[in-house]
Amino acid sequence: MKILHELIKKPWLTPGADVGADLGAVALRRPTIAATGLWIYVGVATVMFSLIVAAYVLRLGNYGADPASAADATSSLGWWTLAALCGIPLANDWLPMAEPWLLWVNTGVLILSSIAWQVARGDLRHGRMDKLRVALIAGGVLAFAFLAGQLTVWRQLIADGYFAAASPANAFFYLITAMHGLHLLGGLLFWGRATAKVMRGAEAAEIGTGVNLCTVYWHYLLVIWIVMFGLLLIT
């Protein structure tokens, strides 16, 4: 752990030492500045999604508890134990939501979008700018298709009477998909920037950081989506 090594230094003993050292490199392996920014942001977003998951679990109430012991769900161990510890009364209003098949399609589309980015990254590394263009556009279009698909799911669910106010399961579904969608939309801003540059005929070096970091971000959002989708499926 380089950082720990750094933190036990006694700086008052060594005036003049470490001067040639390349600052940040002393402490951490140095990815580019933008990459550091992205990783920090990924940390922030992870905390946010984790807290939503925590709230989700705490709000499940006695859903899934053995009906025989439903009156006293605290007697058996499950996710309701956490709520009981936190002093949150166990609600019994959790109605599982419909799981439209379109969600599976959307998940597939998001996976394809991530793959397109991975391909773009490979093209970039080998300097295949023509192919890069195709991959970039595919990545972006697929992401838009995913968002359109999610909106369609929303419309179907609302048409079927799954209003947000009707059950906490519905409310969490809309909250999670909206938060995830907004994050993807933010990523598409950077996609737009990179794509515009490539269309203008930018060199690989100019857009390298953008493409690499977008790929990371897309994979990250894919993982988040799969975790969230899994959570929706099992409850």
Partner: protein, 581 residues
């Protein structure tokens, strides 16, 4: 891009030609810092006036007609929220963080100047949305700064129609602004330090702001999630936090939600928030004490580790705000223990500040007075925290004025004293002018002594059992009539201290125009911000080449040195210090 190309290339800086480009849509961290600070202080003055009005009601009930019970709760809410988030967080991180980080680590600017500019403007938007709630039907929310549901959004609470919506929206916007700023502060510290500026050569100020920013980045998402969920409960009728409830004789459409869930989310943010405010203050006060006592900070590594440990622990204590909300006793035991453990690194810091003063060459200039004043108020507030951290002591004291006295001492007055000290300390660098020392001392003594007149009696009132948040006391068996005398005295002191702040503003404003020209390094300080080629520093900070750092930030009174300080960018002259020290 490697570090050197960014650092040495001044052309990469955005150099606007127009006045608007330089001072309004500026990407210079120093201008953004001043924008952040002035906005925060401006909105803080609103909160100060609100506290004066609250005190008038408490000291002289019914004297002012427009302070109705509703208005009182709105004042309480807005005062708390503004002071904690829109003043202290914005000023310490957006203001001091922006100004100090690049200068202290030897960078030309923040690493993402455009995002930094955006951060300020989004912050300003959040302030405008918040202030707009004073002008909507029903006025601002009166839910208390903790915004606990269900009452925050049920009818009957002031501002339940519009005020709460604007409050939640404003918080969301603020968090976006903070995240943009925070990404900058953390990345700049990690990636843009100049040659030789190892992590352990950074001044404590940078350490405090750095760790506080990380806390903010990890804690504010909890507030965001809570705000979004409450907004959905309020606007589209979901039941995240709303239980089945009968309001105004009618059952509401909500069911099954848990107000306790909100409390957990809120305090998962709310407790680290205390340290988001406190850690920068810890860092700044360390530098102030060391500089003005002409001694190296005692136990520098301990100070840094304590900041980090406090930061980590602050995420494991949140439920100590909820002892009376009801939770499993094991939970209460856990949180009481973790809370008391935080006292250890905190006490280390206090001892080290005192030991830094020990046998120091203490110069009682205004910034130093504020720093020492901070040690007093912080010890005081910290000790009452030991009372409240224990479940069994907290239960009877909770919701009394003891709590009000405690948190105002520890996270209201203490950081504010540091803010004043810091402004006096860095004012010569920021403006190039020197303030009036007599007025500075006068400002300090009125503020510091006034603090004790205001908050000490509150502890006593709390022990008597005077409940907080009450518009007026009415008759009780246990509160003697003399409690009202204390309330009157507190009010008179609070108004005096409030008005005395005009001395500070007069001093700052008149010195800006007529103050004597300041020396570039009037205190003989070692850290980099005092070594800039120009005062105030220009855009780009360092002229053609970046400074190189050879030593830590605390080489004061080094034996054998010509002066009683050696700046960080002075190379060792061969007469190196005794290695055994």
């Amino acid at each position: 891009m490697t570090y050197t190309t960014i650092a040495e290339d001044t052309r990469a800086l955005h150099h606007p030609k127009t006045w608007v480009g330089k001072y309004v849509w500026s990407q210079d961290h120093k201008v953004i810092a001043v924008q952040y600070s002035l906005t925060a202080i401006g909105v803080g003055l609103v909160a100060l006036v609100l506290s004066g009005l609250m005190r008038l009601q408490l000291g002289f009930p019914g004297m002012i007609e427009f302070i109705t019970p509703q208005a009182y709760y709105q004042f309480v809410t807005m005062h708390g929220m503004i002071m904690v988030i829109y003043l202290l967080t914005a000023l310490l991180l957006g203001g001091f963080g922006n100004y100090m980080i690049p200068l202290m680590v030897g960078a030309r600017d923040m690493v993402f100047p455009y995002v930094n500019m955006l951060s300020y403007w989004v912050y300003l938007l959040s302030v405008i949305v918040l202030m707009a709630s004073f002008f909507v039907p029903g006025g601002p929310t009166g839910a208390g700064w903790t915004l606990y549901p269900p009452q925050a959004i049920t009818e009957g609470t002031p501002g339940a129609s519009w005020g709460i919506i604007l409050m939640l929206a404003s918080l969301g916007i603020f968090i976006v602004a903070f995240t943009m700023g925070g990404l900058n502060y953390v990345t700049t510290v990690l990636q843009a330090r100049t040659k030789g500026m190892t992590l352990m050569r950074m001044p404590c100020t940078v350490w405090g702001i750095f760790v506080a920013t990380i806390l903010g980045l990890l804690a504010f998402p909890a507030l965001l999630v809570a705000a979004v969920m409450m907004m959905l409960d309020r606007v589209i009728g979901t039941s995240f936090f709303m239980p089945s409830i009968i309001s105004m004789g009618e059952p509401l459409a909500h069911s099954g939600g848990s107000p306790i869930l909100f409390q957990h989310l809120f305090w998962f943010f709310g407790h680290p928030e205390v340290y988001i405010v406190a850690l920068p203050a810890f860092g700044i006060v360390s530098d102030l004490i060391s500089t003005h006592a002409r001694k190296n900070i005692f136990g520098y590594r301990m100070m840094v580790w304590a900041i980090i440990i406090i930061g980590v622990l602050s995420f494991f204590v949140w439920a100590h705000h909820m002892y009376v909300s009801g939770m499993n006793p094991y939970f209460g035991f856990f949180f009481a223990t973790s809370t008391l453990i935080i006292a250890v690194p905190t006490a280390i810091k206090v001892y080290n500040w005192v030991l830094t003063l020990w046998q120091g060459d203490i110069h009682l200039r205004t910034p130093m007075l504020f720093a020492i004043g901070f040690i007093f108020t912080f010890i005081h507030g910290g000790l009452t925290g030991l009372f409240l951290g224990n479940v069994s002591v907290d239960v009877p004291l909770s919701d009394t004025y003891f709590v009000v006295g405690h948190f105002h001492m520890v996270m209201g007055v203490s950081p504010i004293l540091v803010v004043f000290g810091a402004i006096y300390h860095w004012y010569p660098k920021i403006t190039g002018r020197m303030w009036n020392a007599t007025l500075g001392q006068l400002h300090f003594w009125i503020t510091f002594l006034g603090t004790y007149v205001i908050y000490l009696p509150m502890h006593y009132l709390g022990l008597l059992g005077v409940p907080r948040r009450y518009y007026e006391m009415g008759e009780t068996e246990f509160v003697p009539a003399s409690a009202q005398w204390a309330n009157e005295a507190i009010t008179i002191a609070a108004l005096t201290v409030g008005v005395a702040q005009l001395i500070f503003f007069y001093n700052m404003i008149s010195s800006y125009f007529r103050g004597p020209k300041a020396d570039p390094n009037p205190w003989g300080a070692t850290s980099l911000e005092w070594q800039t080629p120009k005062t105030p520093p220009e855009h780009g900070n360092w002229g053609p080449t970046l400074p190189t750092v050879y030593r830590w930030a605390y080489d004061y009174s080094v034996p054998g040195a010509a002066q009683d300080f050696i700046p960080q960018n002075v190379p060792p002259d061969g007469a190196a210090r005794d290695r055994d020290m």
